[in-house]
């Protein structure tokens, strides 16, 4: 299972065969992630909906999705979690932890949400 996680982590880093570009954060914080709809849709209802036929928007043949209200570093943690199922909360500071918690609430990542809450207590 660790192999699987690390392989998927590589997939997120090198963006091979990506079909979605997500733009997270605003202004200076803004950053693009090359991701795979298949993985996101499998892992999250939110992404499954937004990447569904009714809602997906394409720019230059690739699905484009903007998430300005979540900081790109927080979003990266979320993506890593979605790809690998792993998350290290200990390296996060209090504010980031809280931001992460709020983001999981919005994106309906309930397991992670519960995990963070227990970690905080």
């Amino acid at each position: 299972l660790t192999d699987l996680s690390s392989d998927f982590a590589k997939l997120l880093i090198n963006g091979d065969n990506h079909d979605v570009i997500i733009e997270a954060g605003e202004g200076e914080n803004r950053r693009e992630f090359r991701v795979h709809s298949l993985i996101l849709c499998t892992r999250s209802t939110y992404f499954r909906t937004t990447l569904s036929k009714n809602w997906l928007r394409k720019e230059k043949g690739v699905i484009a999705f903007k998430k300005p209200n979540i900081l790109s570093n927080i979003f990266e943690i979320l993506l890593k979690y979605l790809y690998t199922g792993l998350i290290d909360l200990d390296i996060l500071q209090g504010t980031d932890l809280l931001r992460l918690l709020v983001a999981t609430e919005e994106l309906d990542l309930q397991k992670l949400n519960a995990h963070i809450q227990t970690h905080m207590i």
Binding site: T45, T50, N54, L98, V102, D108, M120
Partner: protein
């Protein structure tokens, strides 16, 4: 997490209430606009992320109820518009006349089509609205205990469109649906997809109060009511216009159609209900009418062996409660009627021919018996075929048929005798015309009739008589066939039933051994050898049906008497303590007669031989009177008459009687017929049946049976009492009946008499305290 509330970047709680309101209004305006765009099918310009975040923020800021109500309002507004702009204009021309102006229900079909589009649009929009309000569904709807937004959409659609208060949409919808179904029932082609769409829509909508589907609350009952009415009318029409097979085909078709209809576009829950209606209106209500249809109903089907039609009726009528019962009783009645007719032809024949179906090989009796059994067998075959081909071998039908057969077979008091005679006939002639397999199958069938006989003991008695004759007169076609038959009887009635029959066979076998020994004995002995070949069959008196104790008188010729004496010495020398009684009435003899034309070998009965030998001493033309013959031979009168008849009045006239006539009377004179001619050298003289005597024999048989029953009843009583020691009257009677009913049905009065007889003979006593209880006395 609320306890640790801290500044949270963009979604920080608003500080001022009015700015929060303003932000809500702003957000809501955008969301409402987006929903309107969705309704306009303009969703492609919308951003899911924004709308979702928008709704998310509203719920997060405790504005869930405002959002929810707002959404409800927007959707309701939209649906109202849809009703006015799309649904109402599509109304078919006013209900009643629509079917006339649009014979194909085109207006209705169009209306359904519009409704289908409206419904599809609505559901599509609702799915998208649900997407953006996902957070509201998850967080607000759950805590506020309100329907999820998609379900809210369904409710709104139900109340605004389907059950609109403002427009008669519901009436039109139901009317059009029912009309479409009616058109299809009348073989019009309708567009099932449109109907199905509407039905599916009704199935998806839920009635708020019953929690059942709108299909069930609004549509189903109306559908069933109209169907009832439709089939009520149709049933009456069909019964009037078609014969039974056609009627059933129509019903079959209808049932099939309704089943298909349900499968194609109604709810499966409706299937049993509509089926019941068709069954009730087209089958239950017309059961009797169809069964009794003249020239085409159940009886004509049976008469003409219309297996397909019968099968169809069986299947169809099996669907309703009373169906098979009605069929069964109608068929049973028919069997009884046919059986009665068979019985009647037999009785009328017997009386007409003046013959009597008594024991023996008397022509008239036997043929009547054989014909009766054959007809019953044919009838049985016919209904077995019906059972097999049309009634799926239904056990209940079989039972009822069997009862009917049992009923009429036992109506004919002679049936045990007839069946035995029939078997006799087959075992006697058997191989002449039929192969062994054929005989065997006939006998198998006969056994099925035997099962129906109530008085099995009477049958046994006749069977013994017939078997005895076959064995003694060597008429049996084959030992194997005889044994086969006994085997079959054994299977039916058990060992007890057949021991005596088997004993008879044993006697025959031992006798043939004895005869071999006797011949050797004669060869070795110094005694004078008899001048004739004597063949003796030694019978065990208890096995054989003759009254062996009272030996019939008859003066045998001296040579014969002497030969008999020799055998008697031989036999008694080997088996001491036995008694031999000569049954001259059962024997046969081969004698040679010289006539003018040629010599003939005559095979005659012992009595006939005695009579003929008297003429040996007479001159040509010298006659003997009846009285002379009677006095000299000492043959019992009845036997004498019968044998004289065989010699003088039958096919081969060995004797000439004066005066001529069929009957033998005192004072008649008999001459040896020297002019007798016959083509064959060997002649067999049959013994003629005599009606008066046979009637007597019947009575005698009856009496013997009654006597045997007394013994069997007593034996049963003693057996039971020995086991139970003490028993109450009614229980004892019941037990006795149970034990005896495989042989005959004892009546309680008979049992009571036997109990009393046993008390008299001190096998039983009445209990001192209770006179209804008996004790067994060891």
């Amino acid at each position: 997490m609320s306890s640790r509330k801290q500044p949270k970047g963009k979604i920080r709680p608003p500080k001022k209430p009015n700015s929060a309101d303003a932000q809500f209004n702003d957000n809501w305006d955008r969301l409402a606009q987006a929903i309107r765009e969705i309704h306009k099918k303009n969703a492609s310009i919308l951003s899911f992320e924004e709308l979702y975040r928008n709704a998310y923020n509203m719920v997060l800021h405790k504005n869930g109820d405002k959002l929810y109500n707002g959404v409800r309002e927007v959707i309701t507004q939209h649906l109202e518009e849809v009703a006015v702009s799309q649904v109402v204009p599509a109304f078919p021309l006013s209900g009643a006349s629509s079917s006339q102006t649009n014979p194909n229900g085109a207006g209705g079909a169009n209306f359904l089509k519009v409704l289908k589009t409206v419904w599809e649009d609505h559901t599509t929009c609702m799915l998208m609205i649900r997407d953006i309000l996902m957070y509201m569904d998850r967080v607000y709807a759950k805590t506020a205990n309100v329907p999820l937004v998609y379900d809210l959409g369904l409710d709104l659609f139900r109340d605004t469109i389907v059950r609109s208060q403002n427009y008669p949409i519901q009436n039109h919808l139901l009317e059009v649906l029912l009309q479409q179904i009616k058109l299809e029932r009348e073989n019009e082609i309708i567009d099932r997809t449109n109907v199905k769409a509407s039905i599916d829509m009704l199935l998806e909508l839920t009635d708020a109060s019953t929690k059942d589907t709108v299909y069930a609350t609004d549509f189903e009952n109306k559908f069933l009511e109209t169907s009832s009415e439709y089939y009520r009318v149709e049933g009456q029409m069909l019964v009037g216009e078609y014969d039974a097979p056609e009627y059933m085909k129509k019903v079959d078709k209808r049932l099939n159609e309704e089943e298909q209809r349900v499968r194609h576009y109604l709810s499966q829950t409706t299937e049993p209900k509509i089926r019941n209606i068709v069954e009730e209106e087209l089958i239950s209500k017309h059961l009797k009418t169809v069964i009794e249809m003249e020239n085409s109903g159940l009886i004509p089907m049976l008469r003409n062996e219309k297996m397909d039609d019968l099968g169809r009726m069986y299947k169809l009528f099996g669907r309703v409660v009373k169906g098979h019962d009605e069929m069964k009783s109608a068929i049973s009645d028919y069997i009884r009627e046919l059986g009665k007719a068979i019985n009647e032809t037999v009785t009328s024949n017997t009386t007409a021919e003046g013959g009597n179906a008594a024991s023996g090989d008397k022509q008239t009796g036997a043929t009547v018996a054989v014909r009766w059994v054959q007809e019953v067998l044919d009838l049985k075959d016919k209904f077995d075929k019906v059972q097999n081909l049309a009634l799926s071998n239904d056990k209940a039908f079989q039972t009822s048929f069997n009862e009917a057969f049992e009923y009429f077979i036992n109506k004919n008091s002679k049936s045990p005798e007839f069946i035995s005679l029939f078997i006799d006939d087959n075992l006697k002639k058997g191989l002449k015309g039929k192969t062994e397999e054929e005989v065997d199958s006939v006998l198998d069938k006969t056994i099925t009739l035997f099962r129906f006989i109530g008085e099995k003991d009477v049958f046994e008695r006749y069977y013994k008589q017939h078997l005895a004759k076959r064995l003694l007169l060597g008429r049996s076609v084959s030992d194997d066939a005889e044994r086969g038959m006994i085997g079959k009887l054994k299977v039916e009635c058990g060992y007890q039933f057949t021991t005596k029959l088997e004993g008879m066979f044993n006697d025959m076998r031992i006798s043939s051994d004895t005869m071999t020994d006797f011949k050797e004995y004669l060869d070795k002995s110094v005694l004078e050898k008899p001048k004739l070949d004597l063949s003796v069959t030694v019978l065990t008196s208890t096995f054989w049906p003759m009254n062996l104790s009272a030996s019939p008188r008859c003066n045998l010729p001296p040579e014969l008497t002497k030969a008999c004496g020799t055998f008697q010495n031989f036999y008694l020398g080997r088996h001491s303590g036995r008694r031999l009684t000569w049954q001259s009435n059962m024997g046969t003899a081969d004698i040679r007669g010289s006539f003018k034309a040629r010599k003939h070998e005559l095979n005659v009965s012992t009595y006939q031989m005695v009579i003929l030998l008297m003429f040996n001493d007479k001159q040509d033309g010298e006659s003997l009177s009846y009285e002379q013959i009677k006095g000299e031979s000492d043959i019992p009168e009845a036997d004498l008459k019968r044998n004289l008849q065989s010699l003088a009045c039958a096919k081969y006239k060995i004797l000439v009687k004066e005066p001529k006539g069929k009957e033998i009377n005192p004072g008649d004179q008999f001459n040896f017929n020297n002019d007798f001619t016959a083509p064959l050298q060997r002649i067999k003289i049959q013994t003629v049946a005599s009606k008066v005597e046979s009637e007597g024999e019947r009575k005698e048989t009856r009496e013997k049976v009654e006597e045997a029953r007394k013994h069997q009843t007593e034996a049963a009583i003693v057996r039971i009492m020995k086991d139970r020691k003490t028993m109450e009257h009614n229980l004892l009677i019941a037990e006795v009946v149970k034990q005896l009913q495989s042989r005959f049905m004892p009546n309680p009065a008979l049992i009571k008499k036997r109990i009393e007889a046993l008390i008299e003979r001190e096998y039983l006593e009445r209990a001192t305290g209770d006179r209804r209880v008996y004790n067994y006395l060891a």
